[in-house]
Every structure is written in C-alpha cells, then in structure tokens.
Symmetry: C2
Subunit: 199 residues, 2 copies
DNA sequence: CATGTTGGTCAACGTCTGTTGGCAACGATA
DNA sequence: TATCGTTGCCAACAGACGTTGACCAACATG
C-alpha cells in the first residue's frame, strides 16, 4: 500500500545489498508495534514476520530502542498554514490527520507505544512541539496562547484516534470520515481561532 | 463472561482477617498499572510495593488478569441526566470527569492498560456502553444518534486525559481545570445536543 | 488438648525476553 | 584464484517473568 521509508535525506544512500532486509524489518516492526505495543512486540516476533533471524535486527538497529526509534521516525507532513485561509484551518487539519491515520500504521504504533513507553511519549511530545505547535503559532490570533490551543487541538485529534483505532469503540470505529470531519472541524477551528472563553 | 468483582457488595462482607492485605495489594496494583501499564507492572513489583510475597497475589486474585480486573472495577458515578438541565449536560460531564480523573488513579491505570491489553480495552468498551451511552441516550435529541454522539464525547474526554495525564504534553498538563472546562464544555454540549451537521 | 483453617514466606519450575558471539555462504576486488 | 567485507543463521547466555507447591505460625473450633 504505502512505502513511507523515512527518506534518507540529503546524504546519498550507500545502497547496501541488505536494504530490502532492513526495510522488511522496519515494516514488520511498525506492524507489530502498532498491533501489540512496545513490550509485547518482541524482537523474535518482528524477526519472524520479516522472515529473518532475530540477531539481524540487533545488527542493523543496535537494540530494541533503536529499532523503535527507526520505525517511528515520521513526518506528519502538516499543511503549510500560510497557504490556506485562516478559517479553514480546522477542516484542513482534521481531514489531513484522518487521512494520515488511515493510510499508514506508524501513527497507531506511536500512539500505542507512547502510552506505556517513556521514549515513545517523549517522541510524541517532540512531534507535538516541532510540528503542531508551529502551525498553531501561525494560525491562532494570540500567539501567546498557541501552546494551550495546540494542546486542545491535539487532545481532540488524538482522542479520536484513541477511541477509533486503538480502543475501537464500535460507534467511533464505524463513523464515516466525512461525518467525523463534519463534527470535528468546527471544534478544532474553535480551539484554534475562537476568542478565549475566559475563566 | 462477566466478572464477579466485589466492588460494592450489598451482601454482608465476610470480613476476613486478610482484608488489609487485600486492600494493600489492590492499591499497589492500581499505582503500578497507572504508572507502568500492564506488562511492566509486574506481580513482583506490585507485591514489593504492598510489602507482601508475590504468591499472595496469586492466592487472592488467581492470576495477573484477575488482579487487573479487581483493580480497575470502577464506577464512573456519572450524574443522573434527568436531574440536570439538558443544556448544562456538557459542563456537568466535563467537570465530573475532570474531578474523577484528578482524584484517583484508577482511570489512568485503565487508560494505560486499555491501550496495550485487550482485556483492558474490553473493559473500557464496557464502561462506555454501560455508563456513558445510557446518559447520551437520555440527553441527546435523537436517540438513534446517541452512540455516535457518545463516541464523540468520549473521544474528547479521553483525548484530554491522554494528553494531560498519560503523554503529559506540557501545555495540556499545565492547563487549569477551570480553563479546561471553559473550552471543553461547549464542545461536549455541542456533540450531545447540536443538530447533526450533515455530511 | 487435638485439629482444621487461614495468613504468610520461601524456593523453585518452566518459559520467554533482549542480546551476544561464532560460523557458513555469498559478492566484489585483486 | 585468494582475500576480505557483508549477509545470514544458529545456539546459547543471563535475567526476568508468571506461577506453583511445600512449609510454617497463628488462630478457631471440637
């Protein structure tokens, strides 16, 4: 379906002969982490799914933490906030998130692991800081309130992912994407741009 | 299928001599499950914290799953929907949830475990079905849409708990409860009672 | 007193975990 | 052909895990 191998960026890839194996390991790792979480996704299970020996995982990724770090190196590819009208940011964010989440399982892996593994949680905080927060700073009216507004947005977006893809509450899992967008876009838009409700 | 946890047993308590130990085990279990999740909350660690032998846990709760079931047997004590005005249900729900979450760690334990353990997820689906869904059926205008509306509400409430208590995004963790209520109450109210936005 | 039940500790079991080092086959280079 | 780094499998390690059963001390009841 997808091949989101995290772009060996500027430095030219050495193109080793083992690249297919490395990719197979990463793909299997993402699948196991997404389905089982950090502890229950064993190196042995990942290796078996990638049809190689467990020791190969260690050779190529050092240890389990290194494997996880490599498996969830992900870019949300959030839309450029300056390229869309300010009053459509909510809808754009929701549809973008929903699409990202449906199309690959890295995000589910990250969410599942982030809840029980500290490195996973730290990774999620990093993504929040580096990707969602800058967008909020550009979109919301008072940039001083951007962190709180971004936190509210993430609470709604991650909460949807949690109930839909992880806990699988039946009504949440069966909602149509268009319906989700219709409900959530105004909420997110509100969190981003509505005046502070006051306390 | 359903468990028989003596949560609030009307039948006269046998009042065994070991009740203090049993309570100590449950308390330690809740703390470890909340802090570490299912896999990393080992029986040995729980026993050590409760200052007893690991084998006692097995004797009193059968196995680890039984211990978990007993530790997270919880009643959300949701307010009676018929006792509050329909247009205040959102605010009431948010403040109630926030209060429950701040005051005891069972909910955090449940959330952490529900994400990686299937029994935990099933327990959360049960709570959703038995406690939040009935409330939604009474509050929202079209009871046929109650499941979807309840799912949206839970996505926002659990998403807040996730970012605030589990992932600990700094802006989410530092928000004042009053501010959270001011932002979330209209959202929840909207999910409960606003007309369907259409697709 | 004798006896059975309960509360508790201790040591061990079998299994699974991440991780390591050795060894065989391959591919390119010389 | 001989050499050398790479790719891969195999067997094993030490530690942690859930779980079990033997054993002891205190108590309650006949």
């Amino acid at each position: 379906m997808n091949d989101s191998t995290p772009a060996t960026p500027a430095p030219a890839a050495p193109a080793r002969r083992s690249d297919t194996t490395r990719r197979a390991i990463l793909e299997a790792a993402r699948e196991r982490f997404a389905a089982d979480g950090y502890e229950r996704a064993t190196i042995r299970a990942i290796a078996q799914q990638a049809k190689i020996d467990p020791s190969m995982v260690m050779r190529y990724y050092g240890n389990k933490e290194g494997l996880f770090a490599a498996a969830v190196a992900i870019d949300l590819k959030l839309p450029d906030p300056s390229s869309l009208p300010r009053d459509e940011a909510g809808r754009a964010l929701v549809t973008h998130f929903l699409h990202q989440w449906e199309e690959n399982e890295v995000l589910t892996a990250l969410l599942r692991v982030g809840v029980t593994n500290d490195a996973g949680a730290e990774r999620m905080r990093g993504i929040f800081n580096d990707q969602l927060l800058p967008l909020a700073r550009r979109v919301c009216p008072d940039s001083e309130q951007a962190p709180a507004r971004a936190a509210l947005v993430s609470s709604q977006l991650l909460g949807l992912a949690l109930t839909r893809y992880v806990l699988r509450f039946p009504p949440a899992a069966h909602l149509h994407p268009e319906e989700i967008t219709a409900w959530l876009a105004p909420t997110v838009q509100h969190y981003l741009t509505a005046p502070h409700p006051g306390v």
